[in-house]
């Protein structure tokens, strides 16, 4: 679907900003692909390079088998019509009603009036705003505005939707409902979604794959389950700190007992592994922290435990856990 080869972008100035320093990325069709990074990591620039709102200085951007960064003028505008985009601050036209906002891209593309009316109606139903068509953006809540933004982005039936911090200006409740809508669109319309965010929760909620961006480079790419449970890069580890990975209080770390973090993924989260561990391996287990959650559709659990027993027993206990495909990380 999308392939970026060595994309470089620098913003010149007194102190030049090296926003992207050689990005290689493959985004498969039909997935929800998340790009996460702190502010200043270059993620906004990256997503804008996909539809050429920012032109990369070097490298190639392939969208749907087309080298898009060689295009200009009308060819580029035609390609952009196949790529929807939603924004953090919605960017609706204040002088237009909801109806007219959703109709806007269709007007640009020269659709006949009747066709526009039919499409706007079904899009408004899709996002649940069929009774607010005559309202102006100023009369809508943040969540409603983003729904208009989504309807507008989908109007020309694109096969790719870019989301630039689409939920960052929304409260947690509204964020959830907007994310559910994006998920539904992804599964019902088979639309590829690329979203950038600085919120781990957004990635966890709906993404299939994630790329971790830092200092204008991709630090790590993989499925959300892999990256969240087995982060390899320091950037990913740092970002995950305090999110799914509970931090160890200093006092406990000093106590000298074996401190372990166990991660159970998917089916493992349902099985009584802990009770077998205690019964079969004669160790005492003290649970310090536990949490069960879900990554998109994958259930997973995290336990932080203290293990007591002689060191040999502990070693075989750890081995047993690993045989059960539980992620074990020794913290102290």
């Amino acid at each position: 679907m999308i392939r970026l080869n060595n994309v470089v972008k620098t913003f010149p100035g007194k102190t030049a900003v090296h926003a992207l320093q050689g990005i290689d990325l493959h985004i498969p069709a039909g997935q929800i692909f998340g790009i996460i990074g702190q502010s200043g990591a270059g993620k906004s620039t990256l997503v804008r390079c996909i539809n050429m709102l920012e032109r990369p200085d070097e490298g190639e951007v392939w969208v749907n088998g087309l080298l898009i960064n060689n295009l200009g003028g009308r060819r580029l505008r035609d390609e952009r019509k196949k790529i929807g985009m939603i924004f953090q601050h919605f960017n609706l036209l204040k002088s237009r009603t909801v109806y007219k906002n959703i109709a806007f891209p269709l007007e640009l593309a020269g659709f006949p009036k009747g066709e526009i009316a039919a499409r706007v109606k079904s899009l408004a139903e899709l996002v649940g705003l069929e009774d607010r068509l005559d309202a102006y953006p100023s009369q809508l809540s943040g969540g409603q505005k983003q729904r208009v933004g989504i309807a507008r982005a989908l109007a020309t039936e694109p096969d790719l939707l870019l989301c630039d911090e689409a939920t960052s200006a929304l409260d947690p409740e509204t964020t959830k409902s907007v994310l559910q809508l994006l998920r539904r669109i992804n599964s019902e319309l088979g639309l590829t979604i690329v979203l950038i965010t600085h919120e781990m929760a957004v990635i966890q909620e709906i993404c299939d794959r994630v790329a971790v961006l830092e200092d204008g480079r991709v630090q790590e790419v993989g499925t959300v389950v892999d990256v969240f449970t087995r982060p390899r890069s320091t950037a990913a580890k740092r970002m995950l700190q305090g999110f799914l990975q509970p931090t160890v209080p200093d006092k406990l770390a000093e106590a000298g007992k074996k401190l372990l973090r166990l991660t159970f993924i998917d089916q493992k989260a349902h099985q009584p592994i802990m009770s077998r561990l205690v019964r079969e391996h004669n160790v005492d287990v003290n649970i310090l922290f536990g949490r069960i959650d879900q990554m998109k559709d994958t259930p997973f659990g995290v336990l932080m435990v203290e293990m007591d027993g002689d060191s040999e027993q502990i070693d075989t206990a750890v081995q047993f856990l690993q045989e059960q495909q539980v992620e074990v990380e020794v913290l102290g």
Partner: protein, 229 residues
């Protein structure tokens, strides 16, 4: 107080009324025509100033600087001097260099750069994210100008036209220097040169009412178009 008002009307010369009426009509013609023409000519200049500025849809820094320089030049020439300086041009356009119609020419020329700057300001006020969104939907520069920038800036554009016409009422007082007539001219010739304080007062009252009326009308239209409450 009441007695004074009655006396004023009893001794009122109907001729004064005719003079005031004619002068008001002249002012309205001069200001109305030059506002319309200047808005018409200033809008594209303002659009060019805004769209060729840095990071805008038609960024052209060289053109922008040249255009900006011309506009600044036009705005820095005092009106009374401009009016006299372009008399040959006025004669070519209006066929004459004296009278109400002729005065429309320098008034328009003086107002175009003013309108252009106001229009530029109105357009640069638009949230750049909205223009970016239109670009992401594949809008052409012309579509962005006509379907995004002008409708989004419409309330500000209306206020710009209002401000221009109020300014032109002030400028039109000087048009008397080339026989343009109008209220300002009347105030100078009768009120000042012939010591007719009463006529001076009446023209001033009409001018105040005119300015207030135009401003109120402009505010009202802008308010109606403004959906940002």
């Amino acid at each position: 107080m009441f007695k004074a008002v009655v006396e004023f009307f009893q001794s009122y010369n109907p001729m004064t009324l005719t003079i005031l009426r004619d002068a008001t009509i002249e002012t309205l013609i001069m200001v109305g025509a030059s506002t319309a023409l200047a808005s018409f000519a200033g809008l594209p200049v303002g659009i060019l100033l805004a769209t060729t500025s840095k990071d805008h849809i038609l960024e052209q820094s060289f053109l922008n600087r040249i255009l900006g320089g011309i506009v600044n030049l036009g705005r820095s020439i005092p009106f009374i001097i401009l009016m006299v300086a372009i008399i040959p041009f006025t004669r070519k356009v209006a066929g004459t260099s004296i009278g109400t119609t002729a005065a429309i020419v320098p008034l328009t020329v003086a107002a175009v750069p003013f309108v252009a700057r106001l229009v530029e300001g109105a357009f640069l006020e638009i949230d750049s994210g909205v223009i970016e969104a239109a670009e992401s939907m594949g809008a052409s520069p012309l579509q962005i100008i006509f379907k995004v920038m002008i409708p989004e800036a419409l309330p500000a554009l209306i206020l710009a036209v209002t401000m221009t016409s109020v300014n032109l009422i002030g400028y039109s007082a000087m048009a008397g220097a080339i026989g343009g007539g109008g209220l300002g001219d009347l105030a100078i010739r009768y009120g000042y040169q012939r010591f007719r304080g009463d006529i001076m007062l009446q023209t001033v009252i009409i001018l105040v009412v005119l300015v207030q009326g135009i401003q109120m009308l402009g505010d009202k239209i802008a308010q109606r178009l403004y959906h940002r409450k």
